[in-house]
């Protein structure tokens, strides 16, 4: 705390501008452990089974669809000339975009010292990991002969010196996505270590104690450990931030380095990143609004958290809106007939409904978040978050399908439709996502216990509730 000069006049905060506490009802530090750990320690609730069984069945369907696709060929999907990238790449980009909110919350908000992130970062990071898993399935599958996937990695092989071609953005993707997955898992795990120690110390059975103890790595909460731990966490946040930017930038380069009208545009990298964060925050809202209710976490994931997430959604949605506008403006400005046609075709071509769904869901609807009344109405926020998810799916649809179906030569034009296998595979990835997410809720603390404790007023040695004596410190 900086020392304040005595002659400085400091006025009290007006009531209407007081910031609500991050933890409601003055819960103490121990209560936080109890509340979060109870979710993991109690009996499996009925709602959990009701959600898990269908998710698991859907995941099984995903496996069936993958088996069918691998044994038969990519032809079971709707991809064909001229739209060679269909739902596979749409869903790949969609899922990986959703993952970005987790990293944003855990890394960027950490660097920005946004203390509210602590209540939501664990679940959001879990969301990241499972979303990247869903995303990763698609590129691996869409190559057609998945048993050759290992060619993507620079392994020495017996066919003479044959190496991957590193000038291809698809190779960059391989490195970006695998690095992203690895670092996200590590970041998540590092964050989990102190909380696993909480579960270890609370464990009633030997088996639980052993398993949680094993993964807690012998954590004791020593300050000499915390010091290195916090530094490592800070560095991981510092690395994850450029990582998350690079991942979606590289995904955008899959399109932007080509010459396809509507794909080749310089604003793609930051525009994709903003869109990814936007969709991810939409998903965070979709997941957290029901969860805080079902798991009775309203004191930890407060209305202030929800409001702040709404605001981030609004900000990123507006950036996305700027990018849409800039794309259209420059397409016109360039005078390039193909560019101009690509955008006209988006708005009034055979897929006009896709374009306008995107505009309404991504640009128009989030603007409602300007109103406090709306940000505070959980039902409306929940519905809007679903629109965000839909809108961002359509954004990828617009970019991929609408750009490809009418490229340069009219003789090459076509119309794309997904097959039932496309649709069932997509539904299957939801099964995978929710199966893992539900398992996570059941076995791991869904709120970062030690981090939330750290932002409680009781944790501040300079605060009266943290034990500070009246009349300053030292």
């Amino acid at each position: 705390m900086a020392q304040i000069a005595s002659n400085l006049k400091i006025h009290p905060v007006p009531v209407e501008l007081e910031r609500p506490a991050l933890i409601q009802n003055q819960r103490n530090v121990g209560w936080i452990s109890d509340r979060v750990a109870e979710i993991v320690e109690g009996k499996t609730p009925t709602w959990w089974w009701c959600a898990f069984v269908p998710s698991f069945l859907a995941m099984t369907m995903l496996l069936a669809m993958m088996t069918y696709q691998i044994s038969t060929g990519v032809g079971v999907w709707g991809n064909n000339h001229p739209v060679a990238w269909g739902w596979d790449i749409i869903n790949f980009v969609w899922w990986i975009g959703i993952g970005h909110a987790g990293t944003l919350i855990s890394a960027i908000l950490f660097l920005l010292r946004q203390r509210w992130r602590t209540a939501v970062n664990r679940a959001a990071e879990a969301m990241t990991i499972f979303a990247v898993m869903c995303a990763g399935i698609y590129p691996a599958m869409h190559v057609g002969r998945v048993w050759f996937d290992w060619w993507l990695f620079p392994f020495p092989n017996a066919n003479g010196p044959i190496w991957p071609q590193f000038r291809s953005p698809l190779m960059w993707d391989v490195f970006a996505v695998s690095t992203y997955f690895t670092v996200s898992v590590l970041f998540w795990y590092v964050g989990l270590v102190p909380d696993l120690a909480v579960l270890r110390d609370r464990a009633k059975t030997k088996v639980r104690k052993f398993i949680y103890g094993f993964f807690a790595l012998g954590w004791t909460g020593a300050n000499r450990h915390w010091s290195n731990y916090e530094k490592a966490y800070l560095i991981l946040a510092g690395l994850s931030t450029p990582l998350v930017l690079s991942v979606h930038s590289i995904v955008s380069l899959d399109f932007a380095v080509s010459q396809v009208p509507g794909w080749h545009t310089t604003i793609f990298p930051p525009y994709f990143v903003a869109g990814a964060v936007f969709s991810g925050f939409g998903m965070v809202l979709t997941l957290l609004i029901p969860l805080r209710k079902i798991l009775k976490l309203e004191d930890l994931i407060t209305m202030r958290h929800i409001e702040l997430i709404c605001k981030v959604t609004l900000a990123t949605g507006s950036i996305v809106g700027y990018a849409y506008g800039m794309e259209v403006f420059i397409a016109w400005y360039s005078g390039n007939p193909y560019e101009r046609f690509a955008f006209l075709n988006r708005a009034v071509g055979p897929y006009w409904w896709g374009y306008w769904t995107m505009i309404i869901c991504n640009v128009v609807i989030p603007q409602l978040f300007w109103f406090k009344k709306i940000r505070n109405n959980l039902f409306i926020v929940f519905i809007m978050s679903i629109f965000v998810n839909i809108g961002m799916w359509f954004e990828r649809f617009v970019i991929i399908v609408i750009s490809l179906h009418r490229e340069f030569l009219p003789g090459n034009w076509g119309y794309y439709r997904p097959t039932i296998v496309d649709i069932l595979t997509y539904i299957g990835t939801f099964g995978l996502f929710f199966t893992f997410f539900l398992l996570f809720l059941r076995f791991l603390p869904m709120i970062a216990i030690s981090e939330v404790k750290g932002v409680a007023v009781q944790a501040d040695p300079h605060h009266p509730l943290g034990g500070a004596k009246a009349g300053g410190h030292h």
């Binding site: 103490n28 530090v29 121990g30 452990s33 620079p154 010196p161 044959i162 190496w163 991957p164 071609q165 590193f166 000038r167 190779m171 960059w172 490195f175 970006a176 690095t179 690895t182 670092v183 590590l186 590092v190 102190p194 120690a197 909480v198 270890r200 110390d201 609370r202 094993f214 790595l217 012998g218 954590w219 004791t220 020593a222 300050n223 000499r224 450990h225 915390w226 010091s227 290195n228 731990y229 530094k231 490592a232 560095i235 991981l236 690395l239 450029p242 990582l243 690079s246 590289i250 380069l253 030690s450 404790k453 009781q458 944790a459 501040d460 040695p461 943290g466 034990g467 500070a468 410190h473």
Partner: protein, 179 residues
């Protein structure tokens, strides 16, 4: 383990971060070496109260990152320009631009490895056994209690002195931890 029951150190329990911090300042000023503060969350300002230096994890990460970047660039240069040159898109066999995305990802990957392994190395983790973990009250360290532990291996270790010091710092519960 039961036969000699060696003493590991003295453990003092505290209830608030402020008390713990003051205790740490006293222990620091008394000149102890082998001691530590245990808390459910990192306490802001504790490093200073304990007289600790800035963590070294950054160097491990920097080393990892530098290795990653160099490896990435060299790997691509060797594979695409030397061992298996292939003309693609009218681009040079090797260009730092074309190689940048992958080298960049490798920088981050190895930088992250460096940070995590560096942290584990500096903390001597993982360890599956620690005398404190057997101590009954200590399990509260992950709940809501704070502990100051001074080890017997400290050159200045004297049970009486330490008890006096920690009692004066406000601890109501001081116990002996066995090895």
């Amino acid at each position: 383990m039961a036969e000699t029951a060696k003493t590991y150190g003295l453990i003092a329990e505290f209830e608030t971060p402020a008390d713990t911090m003051h205790a740490a300042e006293r222990v620091r000023d008394a000149g102890y070496q082998k001691w530590d503060v245990f808390s459910p969350f990192p306490i802001h300002g504790m490093d200073k109260a304990m007289g600790m230096k800035n963590s070294k994890v950054g160097w491990f990460s920097f080393l990892g990152g530098a290795t990653g970047y160099t490896t990435g660039m060299l790997m691509i240069w060797f594979m695409n320009a030397i061992d298996y040159p292939l003309v693609v898109g009218g681009k040079p066999m090797f260009s730092p631009f074309g190689a940048f995305p992958v080298a960049y990802e490798m920088t981050i990957l190895l930088g992250a490895f460096g940070a995590i392994l560096g942290m584990m190395f500096l903390n001597r983790l993982p360890r599956l056994h620690h005398p404190l973990l057997k101590h009954g009250r200590f399990s509260l360290v992950t709940h809501d209690r704070f502990f100051v532990v001074i080890e017997t291996s400290d050159p200045k270790y004297s049970e009486l002195e330490i008890r006096k010091l920690l009692e004066a710092a406000g601890s109501k519960r001081i116990e002996v931890v066995e090895e």
